[in-house]
């Protein structure tokens, strides 16, 4: 934590992320309007002191929609990456610990998943299963665990040769105990970095899906589907496109910069500037 404060860019990103999380948690207190309330008196009004980011084609307040949208976009990011990390740790630690046939089967599977045009698969599955928030989380998670699996495997491969693992085995610890108590906790460092980067990536995928109309369904606001509304009014109402996009950009940027900062802190050897 002390190192984090010293790294100014990473710390600023961390603060920004906290602010967005507060937005999401306290959305009803921060948003000035109901995000789904239609107001036919103020259709497509430009930013003003009543609607700081303007209103959309149905007169809904853009700022309130963005604030409520952060709930959806962030939870999809967190949970999708949580799922990816769990799957990745599971496969990675097993592949690393039991080398030989189990390892090569799992890594072959990882290779197959890496060759997938993943976005095609996500699109197909979400559209066919019907686009619910739950499905989006699961599908993004199930298609983005390969990096974590590789990282964990590499860590476990070197960790399992350490003396303390041998000592634990001599004392009669089972494989499961060694993996859960000794290997995974020590392999978690690099995973933290890729988790942080992954949240940014998942938020981008969700916004792209919603933008195509296959993600979060209206009237529930998500950052992506506010932009979808913006597409049809492009050139007429810039505020519909500009503001939600800036929020996506800044949030994803914050996660990427924080991830990069964490990498420098956790692995000073690899620091490259």
């Amino acid at each position: 934590m002390k190192d984090l404060i010293k790294n100014k860019i990473a710390f600023a990103s961390f603060v920004f992320i906290i602010v967005i999380i507060i937005f999401a948690i306290f959305a009803p207190f921060i948003a000035m309007y109901d995000p789904t309330a239609i107001d036919d008196q103020s259709l497509l009004t430009p930013p003003s002191k009543y609607h700081i980011f303007g209103t959309d084609t149905l007169g809904r307040d853009i700022f309130s929609r963005i604030v409520y949208g952060s709930r959806i976009s962030l939870s999809i990011g967190f949970i999708a990456v949580g799922i990816a990390v769990l799957i990745g740790i599971f496969f990675g630690s097993i592949a690393g610990y039991y080398d030989g046939r189990i390892d090569s089967v799992i890594m072959r599977f990882v290779d197959i998943m890496l060759c997938f045009p993943t976005f095609f698969l996500i699109l197909a599955v979400v559209a066919i299963l019907e686009p619910s928030i739950f499905n989006i989380m699961v599908v993004i998670g199930a298609t983005s665990w390969m990096g974590v699996a590789r990282l964990v495997r590499a860590e476990v491969l070197s960790l399992k040769e350490r003396d303390y693992v041998a000592a634990s085995r001599v004392m009669g610890a089972s494989d499961g105990w060694i993996i859960l108590k000794h290997l995974i906790p020590n392999a978690i460092g690099p995973v933290l970095v890729s988790t942080t980067l992954g949240i940014g990536g998942a938020i981008l995928v969700e916004s792209a899906l919603s933008f195509l109309g296959i993600g979060v369904q209206p009237p529930t606001p998500s950052w992506g589907n506010i932009l979808m509304d913006g597409k049809s009014t492009l050139g007429v109402a810039w505020w519909l496109t500009v503001f939600p996009g800036i929020f996506i950009l800044l949030t994803v940027l914050a996660y990427n910069l924080l991830g990069e900062g964490l990498r420098d802190i956790l692995e000073p050897r690899l620091k490259n500037d």
């Binding site: 890594m107 890496l114 997938f116 045009p117 559209a127 066919i128 299963l129 296959i214």
Partner: protein, 333 residues
């Protein structure tokens, strides 16, 4: 070398079957059947008619039999007929491939042509203004939603300035242009989609190029090259660059699925009649044969891309193509 290529190609076959297997099961295990669209919306369709329709499409058989049937037909590139317009799926895809390939290959050229020099410059001139600007550009490239960037550039160049077309790939009066005019017209239509498609991966490649180059410059053989009095440019471009390119080639191979996947977004936004847009339309219509067809072709393109990356890699580093052990290094798996 040829032996190595053949070995790599054989290795790709199981990966390809793995991809089709996963796609097939995931798509077909989803609840509901594609015939629902044709039947449940139409109250006149009887239960028997429904069964007949399912039988026609082979949906009444167990899923593994369906997959084996699909594979059997796939060997001859027969993907069946589209549920939407009853046209042959392969024909539908074939007419869409060239434009998608054109966009992806042009953006790959842009990515390499700009990303590599950018990475090299920021590695060699570390902490210079150029390096800092590149770093900012890289992080924005990683974080920007590309469809949002498309919207912004469309409204800037297409609507406000009115200098670039924002949809389709040719103008309405395309047929009356001379050959040169036609090329110019298509180029004009593709500038925005291609540069935006390149933008995200460009950032990634220049970043990898930079860190790989920094790693190489620190090594002993570079010091030796300098010590024996070679010019700095020769050290960088002849000795360091070739070695630093190796990891970048791999990353490039891995970024192909992303490019192909991204074509869904660009082709939808810019109304380009390519494979990505066809995929989007097929997904919306639950056109299983077309979805499977595009997933397989997409996987094939990805694998061919990876194979090319592997060949380029072994060309740059001849140790790779020798059988393991013979080169004194064991091949990384």
């Amino acid at each position: 070398m040829i032996q190595y290529i053949i070995r790599r190609m054989l290795g790709l076959v199981p990966v390809f079957f793995g991809i089709t297997l996963i796609s097939f099961f995931v798509i077909h295990l989803a609840p509901g059947k594609p015939t629902d669209i044709q039947t449940s919306l139409n109250p006149k369709v009887s239960y028997e008619a429904r069964l007949r329709l399912e039988k026609l499409y082979g949906l009444d058989k167990p899923i593994h039999i369906q997959y084996i049937n699909w594979l059997n037909r796939f060997i001859t590139f027969d993907f069946g007929r589209s549920y939407v317009d009853d046209r042959l799926v392969w024909k539908k895809i074939r007419e869409r491939i060239p434009i998608t390939l054109l966009i992806n290959i042009s953006s790959l050229i842009l990515i390499l042509g700009i990303g590599i020099p950018l990475g090299v410059i920021s590695a060699v001139k570390r902490k210079s203004i150029m390096d800092r600007l590149t770093t900012i550009f890289v992080f924005i490239g990683f974080s920007i939603p590309e469809f949002w960037l498309s919207l912004l550039l469309m409204s800037l160049f297409g609507i406000s300035l009115g200098i670039l077309p924002i949809s389709g790939i040719k103008s309405l009066d395309f047929e009356y242009f001379s050959l040169l005019g036609k090329i110019f017209d298509i180029t004009k239509h593709l500038i925005l989609p291609v540069s935006i498609a390149a933008f995200g991966s460009l950032a990634g490649i220049s970043r990898y190029m930079r860190s790989s180059m920094i790693g190489i410059i620190r090594q002993d053989f570079i010091r030796t090259a300098r010590a024996k009095g070679l010019k700095e440019a020769e050290v960088i471009y002849k000795h360091a660059l070739k070695n630093a390119l190796l990891p970048v080639i791999t990353i490039l191979g891995l970024s192909i699925p992303g490019l192909i996947g991204g074509s869904v977004i660009f082709e939808s936004i810019f109304a380009i009649p390519g494979m990505g847009r066809l995929f989007y339309e097929s997904v919306m219509a639950r056109d299983y044969p077309t979805i499977m067809g595009i997933l397989s072709i997409g996987a094939m393109l990805t694998l061919v891309g990876n194979l090319l990356a592997d060949i380029a890699y072994s060309y740059a580093d001849p140790r790779i193509s020798l059988p393991a052990g013979q080169a004194g290094v064991t091949k990384e798996t």
